[in-house]
């Protein structure tokens, strides 16, 4: 045992935490953001997460980018991991590490529409997978340096094709730029839910060394108000559920995203600096104070 527990939280409050997402029952609305929960850390979070969501997997293994891959910024960090992953085959072989008795959502990406379709089909056909999250913030090699989020056209196409592969819930994860239009076209193409938002394009420079440090995506509390705006607007545009991602640090942040319109809320970078259990405990206390259940929060703010 340890000397002092960090911010002891008192007894569980008995608040009603369960939410429904695309027909799945999540016993809490909190989900790890893709790429921020390793298989080694899954155990730590038992009981906290309503679903498990591992790092994006791709058709072939990827080594990822050279270091430095991360840099700290004011209230956030910039990462450029480069989707390092062992490829979908090895990933599926190790999938049991992520089975902890809650729904398993698998994040996928590909370089082309074709690849996306294949990888969606591949993971969705596995009985252990409850839903698929398509990470569209990755480069579409058939369209130069642009990502699949570059516009409603490419979103539509890739989602429509993926849709043919499965009846399981298909969650489309979008970046901030053009999120409202992109969400609408994802819905039109058959998406079952939208995750908003991925990291925001950013850069860090080391002034002393006079060199570029990391060119990648900004995450963490810094981006919270931007993500909140995206969730608010997307949830007022589409009829499908919205999963929030971006800057959640506290239980009150979770509540704000749900009030803005989210059905479930991802915690990413904050899990590097806090125990997600504390976030959940704060959220429970919030629910108790306001006398509401988790699902009653969704979209409650005008």
């Amino acid at each position: 045992m340890v000397t002092v527990r960090y911010r002891p939280d008192g007894p569980a409050t008995g608040a009603d935490l369960a939410v429904e997402l695309c027909g799945l029952t999540l016993h809490t609305p909190i989900i790890p953001a893709s790429g921020t929960l390793s298989r080694e850390a899954v155990g730590e979070a038992r009981g906290v997460y309503g679903a498990i969501l591992p790092k994006t997997t791709t058709p072939r293994p990827r080594d990822g980018n050279p270091t430095p891959r991360i840099a700290e910024t004011y209230a956030g960090m910039v990462n450029s991991i480069g989707l390092q992953n062992p490829g979908v085959q090895a990933f599926m072989e190790g999938l049991s590490d992520f089975e902890v008795g809650v729904p398993l959502i698998v994040s996928v990406a590909g370089d082309t529409v074709e690849e996306f379709r294949d990888v969606v089909g591949r993971v969705a056909s596995d009985g252990r997978v409850s839903a698929v999250e398509m990470n569209l913030s990755c480069p579409n090699v058939e369209h130069g340096g642009l990502t699949f989020c570059a516009g409603p056209g490419s979103v539509e196409e890739v989602v429509r094709e993926a849709r043919r592969e499965t009846e399981k819930p298909l969650i489309v994860k979008l970046t901030f730029e053009g999120v409202v239009a992109n969400a609408a076209s994802a819905e039109a193409a058959g998406a079952d839910a939208i995750t908003a938002i991925n990291t925001i394009p950013a850069l860090t420079i080391d002034a002393r060394a006079q060199r570029r440090l990391v060119r990648g995506g900004l995450s963490g509390p810094a981006i919270k108000p931007v993500a909140l705006r995206a969730v608010y607007e997307v949830s007022r545009t589409v009829g499908i559920p919205v999963v929030a991602s971006g800057g959640v640090v506290s239980g009150e942040d979770v509540a704000e995203f749900m009030l803005a319109g989210a059905t479930a809320v991802q915690v990413g970078t904050a899990s590097f600096v806090r125990e997600p259990e504390e976030v959940l405990a704060e959220f429970e206390r919030y629910l108790q104070e306001v006398g509401l259940s988790a699902r009653e929060l969704t979209g409650r703010v005008e």
């Binding site: 990822g64 891959r69 590097f272």
Partner: protein, 251 residues
Amino acid sequence: MKFYRVEVTNAERLGGYRVLRYAWSGPEPEPGQFVMARANGFPVTLDPFLARPLSFYDFADATASLLYEVRGRGTERLAAARPGDTVEVSAPLGVPFDLSDLAGARAALLGGGIGVAPFRFLSRRLLELGVAHDTYLGFADAELAGAAEGFPGARVATMDGSAGVRGTVLDAVEAAGGIGRYAALYACGPNPMLAAVKLAAPPQVRCQLSVEERMGCGNGSCNGCVVPVKDRGYVRSCVEGPVFEAEKLAW
């Protein structure tokens, strides 16, 4: 990642570095392991945002010690903690030095700069195990070399020759009889030093290197802290390291 708010029992200078001690009754650390550490904040400090990896300098009597260099804001804020204040640390993390197969062997511990940190603890453990070993520490100058006080019996080199042997930690090894007589090497320091140790190590000598990469999480989740390994692309140094067999590293 779980952080524990622990009470600082001691905070002092050691040469150009600082020592911070805190009471710890959680899982026992092993030499070569580290903690993620940071100052307090609410709900977490944003100044700075991420915690910092620091090796165990020692662990005894339910007291953990860290030895660190003030480089930037993270260590600056830790350095502001006084006895009685609290700081936040994770449980012990990472793969420790492998101390198996050492029966009858003689080991060398090679630390460069603040990379000396893990070797007080490792030396203590080797003593307990009855493994003969020598500790070599390399510093920039005599001021920093003041930290050698924390490493009883260690031999010192300084780049400017102001204390001990002039040159690197490998020069100190050379001056004391050469690297050939050791069956095991443990090294920690800047990457160029680790590469030099790897190069200098005779083929039959088992060589373990503790690497230093920027860390985001410390528990394998962010993939930020990778090192290139032979035939396997990159591996995460926080969970598959920070201690690696030298021959596994692709550098």
